[in-house]
């Protein structure tokens, strides 16, 4: 190819413009500044607040260690809620993930409504959802478990459908060529490819469910959160600090175990 020919060809091949990237960056900075102003953020207040924090720590110590035995049962309840919620949510997320993966579900009429439902679920503030569920199902763990299930569903279905969209399309093609129907293609072509990731997401969502379950009690949806609420309103800070330490310990242990489990999966 001659030099001039190459030149004219290169003119056709336009270099992708960078302005989009710059514009996005600018937008981001502007949005950040505007948000900071609108929430009345000031460094002054931040510094003024610091001494109060030390004050609180002072009031909290020493923790009331004997309170541990008293809150063990609600702590177990919290863990159970997290487990049940993670299980329901993870199972429910399977059809959602499959129906919203572009490479498996070809029909826009199925894909878009499914994604829409998922987006609504995720966009809904989690604690508000829990409060509404308490209004419907009454105080207690039922509302909490449903809230946790919906929360888990949102996370696992999104992560899973993204994993499905990233699978090797080869086996799907091979299964199509073999004469498999849609379900068989999914079962033989998709499932083996995403199983380890999916299981890892289930464990991960259980991990974050614990944190969420611990505060659900603030809106009356069961678990240890109720005890935070009572103790805080009674200014019983040594109890609060005991609970914080307990919760922290449980969360850390669960994180450690689930981290191990997840690593062994992949």
């Amino acid at each position: 190819m001659s030099q001039t020919k190459l030149k004219t060809d290169l003119q056709h091949l336009k270099k992708p413009s960078r302005s989009k990237t710059y514009f996005t960056l600018l937008l981001f900075v502007v949005l950040m500044i505007v948000s900071a102003i609108s929430v009345d953020f000031s460094f002054q207040k931040l510094f003024e607040g610091f001494p109060n924090m030390f004050n609180l720590v002072d009031k909290m110590s020493p923790p009331n260690w004997s309170y541990f035995s008293y809150i063990t049962e609600p702590m177990l309840e919290t863990i159970r809620m997290a487990v049940v919620g993670a299980t329901f949510g993870s199972i429910l997320s399977i059809p959602f993930a499959i129906l919203s993966a572009r490479n498996v579900t070809k029909s826009k009429w199925v894909l878009l409504p499914t994604r829409f439902l998922m987006n609504i679920n995720r966009a809904f503030p989690d604690l508000l959802m829990a409060a509404l569920l308490v209004a419907v199902f009454g105080l207690g763990t039922t509302a909490g478990i449903i809230a946790l299930s919906l929360f888990s569903l949102g996370i696992v279905s999104k992560l899973t459908y993204e994993s499905i969209e990233a699978i090797d399309p080869g086996p799907l093609e091979a299964m199509t060529a073999v004469g498999a129907n849609k379900l068989e293609i999914i079962y033989y072509g998709v499932v083996p490819q995403i199983m380890p990731q999916y299981l890892s997401y289930c464990i991960y969502v259980f991990e974050i469910n614990i944190r969420f379950a611990a505060i659900l009690g603030l809106v009356g949806a069961g678990g240890i959160g109720q005890f935070y609420d009572t103790n805080l309103s009674l200014f019983n800070y040594p109890n609060v600090s005991a609970m914080i330490i307990y919760t922290l310990a449980v969360v850390l242990v669960i994180d450690f175990i689930s981290g191990r489990l997840r690593r062994s999966l992949i």
Binding site: G170, E173, A174, V178, G179, A180, L183, Y188, M195
Partner: protein, 264 residues
């Protein structure tokens, strides 16, 4: 037997993959398709089992129109057509046996296949197929533990377990070394000779085409520009198929010369 009747395929972006193809492939033939990169070889192959939809014309496979078939009948036509891919397309995390058995799903109800309830005959069939390509001892290995050549032989076993009457192979040896290439091509050759399975194979190597094919089809810019026994595929013919040393389809002249003129 595969028949193309005025088949054209235009991709959604306007690219013409196939242009008014009329051809008949007989049972038991070993057909090799050659042509430049982008000539339409894969498109040709993938229209046969409708991995790609044609935009015009009709393809008849063993007397049934696959282009008109819908639902179950379509799946049943596909069941009779095995396919072998350049990058094997095995499920890497699954065992070799499971990959071969997946060739059987078209024969059973969805429930049975999902619970893995394959009858004993199916398992025997899978083992026989693996034996045929000398992969029996790897039956319980995970597919990703195998070399490329071994994976390709497993994918041939899948097509055999499928009891396909036709095997389509899209550059089955493109990613293999010369020795493995020979093993895989020999497997295909034996299957063709001994079991009478029709082979339609896309190849980039003329040498291999000459060695294994009974019939060669030259494709250029979506059209068949040569069709005949390998012995007739002289260097001049190949030069024409490959556009005389030029390397892009775009550089073809607007009006193609008829083949006869070139050969003379």
């Amino acid at each position: 037997m595969i028949e193309f009747h005025n088949v054209s395929k235009v991709y959604p972006n306007g690219t013409r993959g196939l242009n008014n193809i009329n051809v008949k492939l007989e049972k038991g033939e070993f057909v090799v398709i050659v042509g430049l990169s982008g000539a339409g070889k894969s498109t040709f192959l993938r229209c046969i089992n409708r991995l790609h939809e044609v935009t015009d014309g009709e393809i008849i496979v063993n007397g049934k129109s696959i282009t008109q078939a819908k639902g179950k009948p379509l799946l049943h036509i596909r069941r009779d057509i095995g396919m072998i891919f350049q990058n094997f397309n095995l499920v890497k995390r699954s065992s070799v046996l499971r990959n071969v058995l997946s060739g059987r799903v078209g024969y059973h109800s969805t429930m049975k296949t999902i619970f893995g309830l394959f009858p004993k005959e199916d398992k025997d069939l899978a083992f026989q197929a693996l034996d045929r390509v000398n992969m029996l001892e790897k039956a319980y290995a995970r597919a990703d533990e195998l070399s490329g050549g071994q994976q390709q032989r497993v994918s041939i076993a899948r097509a055999l377990a499928q009891e396909a009457k036709i095997i389509l192979a899209d550059e089955p040896v493109a990613s293999l070394d010369p020795l493995t290439t020979k093993q895989v091509m020999d497997d295909l050759h034996h299957i063709n000779k001994e079991m009478g399975i029709t082979m339609v194979v896309n190849l980039h190597s003329i040498q291999l085409a000459r060695e294994y094919a009974t019939r060669m089809i030259g494709v250029r810019a979506g059209e068949i520009v040569f069709d005949g026994p390998v012995t007739e595929a002289t260097d001049e013919v190949l030069d024409f198929i490959y556009g005389k040393g030029t390397t892009t389809v775009e550089s073809f002249p607007e009006k193609q010369q008829p083949l006869e003129e070139v050969v003379q």
